[in-house]
Symmetry: C2
């Protein structure tokens, strides 16, 4: 998606350790007009008519998933991240390693809001190693729901998460901007090398 | 806001300890159509033309704040909750007591995205004691920005947070559904007693 790549190149900051900051328009301050354009773009890659719910993980995925769900006319469901052990019953859980918290966290979705008859589109704003995404896929499977697709706005291609999902059979995966390299010389997207 | 009150009464669950669960349409699974209606309703109470940014706190406020910011044509900014001590520089911080985590957490907004020239509308989905809201107001003040209003979808009136902000001079506060009582006999809204 060209306008997204242009924004990343223009406003993204590359920090030491391959960290790419895009917090001016995607995951801290959020450009809601851009979210709508991203939602329209995802609609080209997935069969939106089948979808009954958009699933994401807290916190930064919520804004984009809301814009998508609004556009597609379905509810948005976000998995909560539990850092405590006092987890209630009636929850579908998946334990993941959180890069942000540098420890294991549990993704949680209430059984009540994800049913076997659901057709799920998973949306996230950002993917690096894909651990959180793996947890969301696990939750959809545990619910017995149908995974219709996975859409990611910005993928750090060099961290391998995206390729793992591209290799998954039967589930369309699409990332709108795949960053292949980010260093002091700037940002290179996949397909541009 | 009648449709919101109707939803709370119909779908809300009252748990022991005055806990009101509205996670089927507002803060876990989210009805995006309702968010749009709430955004339209807030626009009746605040001078939207003045606003340059909608501010909220992660995580559950993000969905509603996104729908509002989208409707008003401005960016949405969410304060992050830091549970660690390694906080970067360049951040506006406010320490609050988190009822969810049962400990102090720090709300953080990057200085870069909240400036003295900003006119801020704070939006949150839910307010009980108002600690998180107090932190957001503190952040707006520390940024030297102008607070144009505070909008809350559901307020637990009996926990006092809302009345604290109603008493604040010069800043319009509005909650769309104020729950005055919630027990085994059901939910009573302010004005209905």
């Amino acid at each position: 998606m060209q306008i997204l790549k242009d924004r990343i190149r223009r406003e993204g900051k590359v920090l030491p350790g391959n960290i790419i900051k895009i917090d001016g328009f995607l995951n801290h301050r959020v450009d809601t007009k851009l979210l709508e354009e991203i939602a329209d773009e995802f609609a080209k890659y997935f069969d939106i008519s089948k979808i009954t719910v958009v699933l994401t993980a807290e916190a930064s995925g919520i804004a984009l998933a809301t814009a998508c769900a609004q556009k597609y006319g379905v509810p948005m469901l976000f998995a909560k991240k539990a850092k405590s052990d006092n987890i209630e019953s009636g929850l579908i859980q998946s334990e993941i390693f959180s890069y942000t918290y540098k420890k294991k966290v549990t993704l949680l979705v209430s059984q009540e809001w994800l049913k076997p008859e659901d057709h799920v589109l998973i949306i996230d704003d950002f993917m690096a190693n894909g651990y959180a995404m793996g947890g969301l896929v696990d939750i959809v499977n545990k619910a017995g729901a149908t995974l219709e697709g996975i859409g990611v706005a910005v993928e750090k291609g060099f961290q391998g998460g995206g390729d793992k999902f591209r290799a998954m059979e039967g589930v369309p995966y699409h990332a709108l901007a795949v960053i292949e390299k980010a260093d002091e010389n700037g940002i290179v997207f996949r397909g541009e090398e």
